[in-house]
């Protein structure tokens, strides 16, 4: 009969199971090293996000949360024509800007796959607009757009045309701010798509060329499908970014004339920091976040489809 007693459990020695303070350098070191970054991230993103959701349920008076009002701020948002007008302006701005940046960026990237003198220098110059800060861009373009002494007015006069009051007429003001965004961020699209192009294998294109395919057919039927994931990533990143636009428009037009260029970030900035209606602004920002999340889900679905295809 086997013994029912179990063999005595061998007690671990200090060597194999050192105390916790001796394991700091082994088991816990990675966490210790990550801790400052994680704590900062939590403090600067997660906590503010949770706090802003919290205050969105309050009415503010004198810049301080005053009364808990539940979903009243959200109900007010649904009926606020200015908020929805700003959403429409923002979506139109995003659609136009990103589309133009994408088309121009792709065209430039294709052009730069060729070889020509000083290609490296031109490529470096191409990305300069992306390096400038938004406030500087806003100030420069506000001056350039001035119909009295701006360079755009000079250029138009020199070809016999009257200067355009870019920032003074509603429709023109909208076009003006879109153009600035395109100037600023086409280099971003250009860089990403160029990187994608340069990573593609050349053999399929050579084979297609030998089979008599035209350059357009090679681009459409071979290059484009292979480049699609890169393009979608570029579109996703740029779209997320453009929905946060603020600085340039603030400097150039402050959302005017009227509300022609008042995008959502400007409207909510005004609500939070001019009117001190923080709860309402927080509710608006949460709705904007939902919108951006839905958009990103659509993009990611396309990305996933593309990869499976």
């Amino acid at each position: 009969m086997a013994s029912l007693t179990t063999a005595p459990i061998e007690q671990p020695t200090d060597e194999r199971n050192p105390p916790w303070y001796q394991r700091l350098g082994t088991d816990y070191l990675p966490f210790l090293l990550l801790a400052p970054a994680v704590i900062t991230l939590l403090a600067l993103t997660v906590y503010p996000f949770l706090y802003s959701v919290y205050i969105s349920f309050f009415r503010f008076r004198g810049g301080r949360p005053d009364t808990f009002i539940g979903l009243d701020n959200y109900a007010r948002l649904l009926q606020d024509p200015h908020f929805w007008e700003s959403i429409r302006t923002l979506l139109l701005y995003a659609a136009l800007s990103v589309t133009l940046e994408f088309v121009l960026g792709t065209a430039l990237a294709l052009f730069f796959t060729g070889h020509f003198p000083l290609r490296g220098l031109w490529r470096s110059l191409m990305i300069v607009p992306m390096m400038l800060t938004p406030v500087v861009i806003g100030v420069i373009w506000r001056l350039m757009y001035d119909p009295n002494f701006g360079i755009t007015a000079y250029a138009l006069r020199s070809i016999g045309l009257a200067p355009i009051e870019w920032l003074s007429k509603g429709n023109w003001a909208f076009v003006a701010v879109v153009l600035v965004d395109v100037w600023n961020w086409t280099p971003f699209m250009f860089l990403l798509i160029l990187a994608g192009l340069e990573s593609l294998p050349v053999e399929p294109f050579e084979a297609a060329r030998m089979d008599g395919a035209s350059r357009f057919q090679i681009f459409k039927d071979h290059m484009l499908p292979m480049l699609a994931p890169t393009m979608l990533v570029a579109l996703l990143v740029r779209s997320m970014d453009v929905l946060r636009i603020f600085d340039q428009i603030f400097i150039m037009t402050s959302g005017g004339p009227g509300s022609a260029t008042e995008v959502t970030s400007l409207y909510l900035y005004k609500t939070a920091f001019k009117f001190f209606d923080m709860g309402y602004a927080a509710a608006g920002l949460f709705v904007l976040l939902i919108l951006i999340t839905i958009l990103s889900r659509i993009y990611i679905r396309f990305l996933g489809t593309g990869e499976e295809g």
């Binding site: 004198g62 119909p147 009295n148 009051e165 509603g170 037009t253 009227g258």
Partner: protein
């Protein structure tokens, strides 16, 4: 090896913390932090700060910010109660929000006694509740206004015109409109007659206020009922819009800088200009019309007035060094010191003795006009809701200037939204 790395990291952290702890000045005098608006408005005071530091042994950290950023930071600091600033430059329309929410320190609580050398209008806008005009609902009728700030700059809208072309000074607004229409345009002395400040928000509202009040109109009556779409205000806007047609291109986005440039470069006959630009009139590096511009109060409509926009020096309720801050602001706005920095910059003072100083009056020939305009000026409605009201009015005025709405429609739309704001804020029973 890993144990050694951990020990090394811990040692580095301890040393770093120790160095931070040791880096404290021993027996430091008090340092106060002053938030100021960037530009000529604070340039004078900035220049004299070393004198105060030498006199008292204390130090000043001057934080200069553009107007919109200054408002953001001051309001945010006040609301959070962080006490980042010991003294702040505030624009007078911020007073209702800050004072009514107890974000400022009443100066009498620090032992300050009112100095009657300050222009009365400037003292009035630095007080709360307002000495005249409608008060917030619920304010006791016998509530005595307290002084919450010291007036630093006596800003008020002035009227510039080309005296070499308009040789008879326009006494009334109708005279002004006739003169600029007759003397500007293709083939005339100058291409443009009048420069309107049309940029959305505070700029366009500021210009409109001068017209509106001069015509006898207003934004609210004494019971806070919105009257900005009344016949006098509509007429004021119509006339202003007719002047906008005589403005240089880009009027719907023109701000104070563009207005001043339009006059200083000789292309425009007249405009409502803030005093900060006066010193540029005779500066050949900035002006092509030195000696040719007259500076006077805005001509008379039903009454003679324009908008007041004083800069005040206040002490936040959460300030950490209130007594030292009071000493600084009292010194900075004293007659001798004010004379010094007004003398250096030409900005308008807030003391009668400094306005009338013979030396300064000779150097800055517009001071008499500034004092007259300040004495007749109108302040913006004293309500914490002013930011919202100004934004709504600014949006619709901007649409009117851009030609997207006519005067009546713009003011009707503004009146409706302003009424909604005041209703939500509890102004109507």
């Amino acid at each position: 090896m890993k144990m050694r790395t951990t020990k090394l990291l811990l040692c580095v952290m301890i040393i770093a913390l120790g160095l931070v702890g040791l880096n404290r000045p021993a027996n430091a005098a008090t340092k106060i932090v002053v938030a100021a608006v960037q530009g000529v408005e604070s340039a004078g005071i900035k220049a004299v700060i070393p004198d105060w530091e030498k006199k008292t042994g204390n130090s000043v950290e001057l934080v200069e910010l553009p107007y919109p950023n200054l408002q953001d930071k001051v309001f945010t600091d006040a609301q959070a109660g962080t006490g980042s600033y010991d003294a702040i430059f505030i624009d007078d329309p911020w007073m209702p929000f800050l004072a009514s929410n107890n974000y400022l320190t009443p100066l009498d609580s620090l032992g300050y006694k009112v100095d009657t050398d300050f222009v009365q209008k400037s003292l009035d806008v630095a007080s709360w509740p307002p000495p005249t005009g409608p008060r917030l609902p619920g304010t006791p009728k016998d509530a005595t206004p307290k002084l919450y700030a010291l007036p630093a700059l006596g800003n008020v809208q002035l009227f510039w015109y080309r005296k070499d072309i308009i040789t008879t000074p326009p006494a009334t607004i109708q005279d002004l409109m006739k003169a600029v229409t007759e003397n500007s345009g293709p083939g005339k002395a100058v291409p443009y007659g009048f420069t309107v400040r049309g940029k959305k928000g505070n700029p366009v509202v500021t210009d409109f206020n001068a017209w509106n009040w001069s015509y006898g109109g207003d934004i609210f009556d004494d019971n806070w009922k919105v009257i900005v779409n009344g016949p006098k205000s509509v007429q004021a806007l119509k006339d202003e819009l007719s002047m906008a047609k005589l403005s240089p291109p880009g009027v719907a986005n023109a701000d104070a800088d563009e207005q001043a440039i339009a006059l200083l470069n000789g292309s425009t006959l007249a405009g409502i200009i803030w005093p900060a630009y006066n010193a540029q009139i005779d500066d050949p590096s900035k002006s092509k019309v030195s000696g040719k511009i007259a500076v006077v109060p805005f001509p008379k409509g039903e009454k003679q007035t324009s908008q007041l926009g004083n800069w005040l020096l206040a002490i936040p309720a959460a300030a950490k060094n209130k007594e030292v801050a009071l000493d600084f602001i009292t010194w900075a706005t004293s007659a001798d010191v004010m004379k010094q920095w007004v003398g250096a910059t030409g900005v308008p003072p807030t003391r009668t003795s400094v306005f009338k100083d013979p030396e300064l009056s000779k150097k800055y020939w517009w001071q008499e006009a500034n004092l007259e305009a300040l004495s007749n000026a109108t302040w913006r409605p004293r309500t914490p809701e002013w930011s919202k009201v100004e934004d709504i009015l600014g949006t619709y005025l901007s649409k009117a200037i851009a030609g997207d709405m006519d005067a009546q429609a713009a003011l009707d739309a503004a009146a409706k939204e302003i009424t909604d704001v005041m209703t939500q804020a509890g102004y109507y029973k």
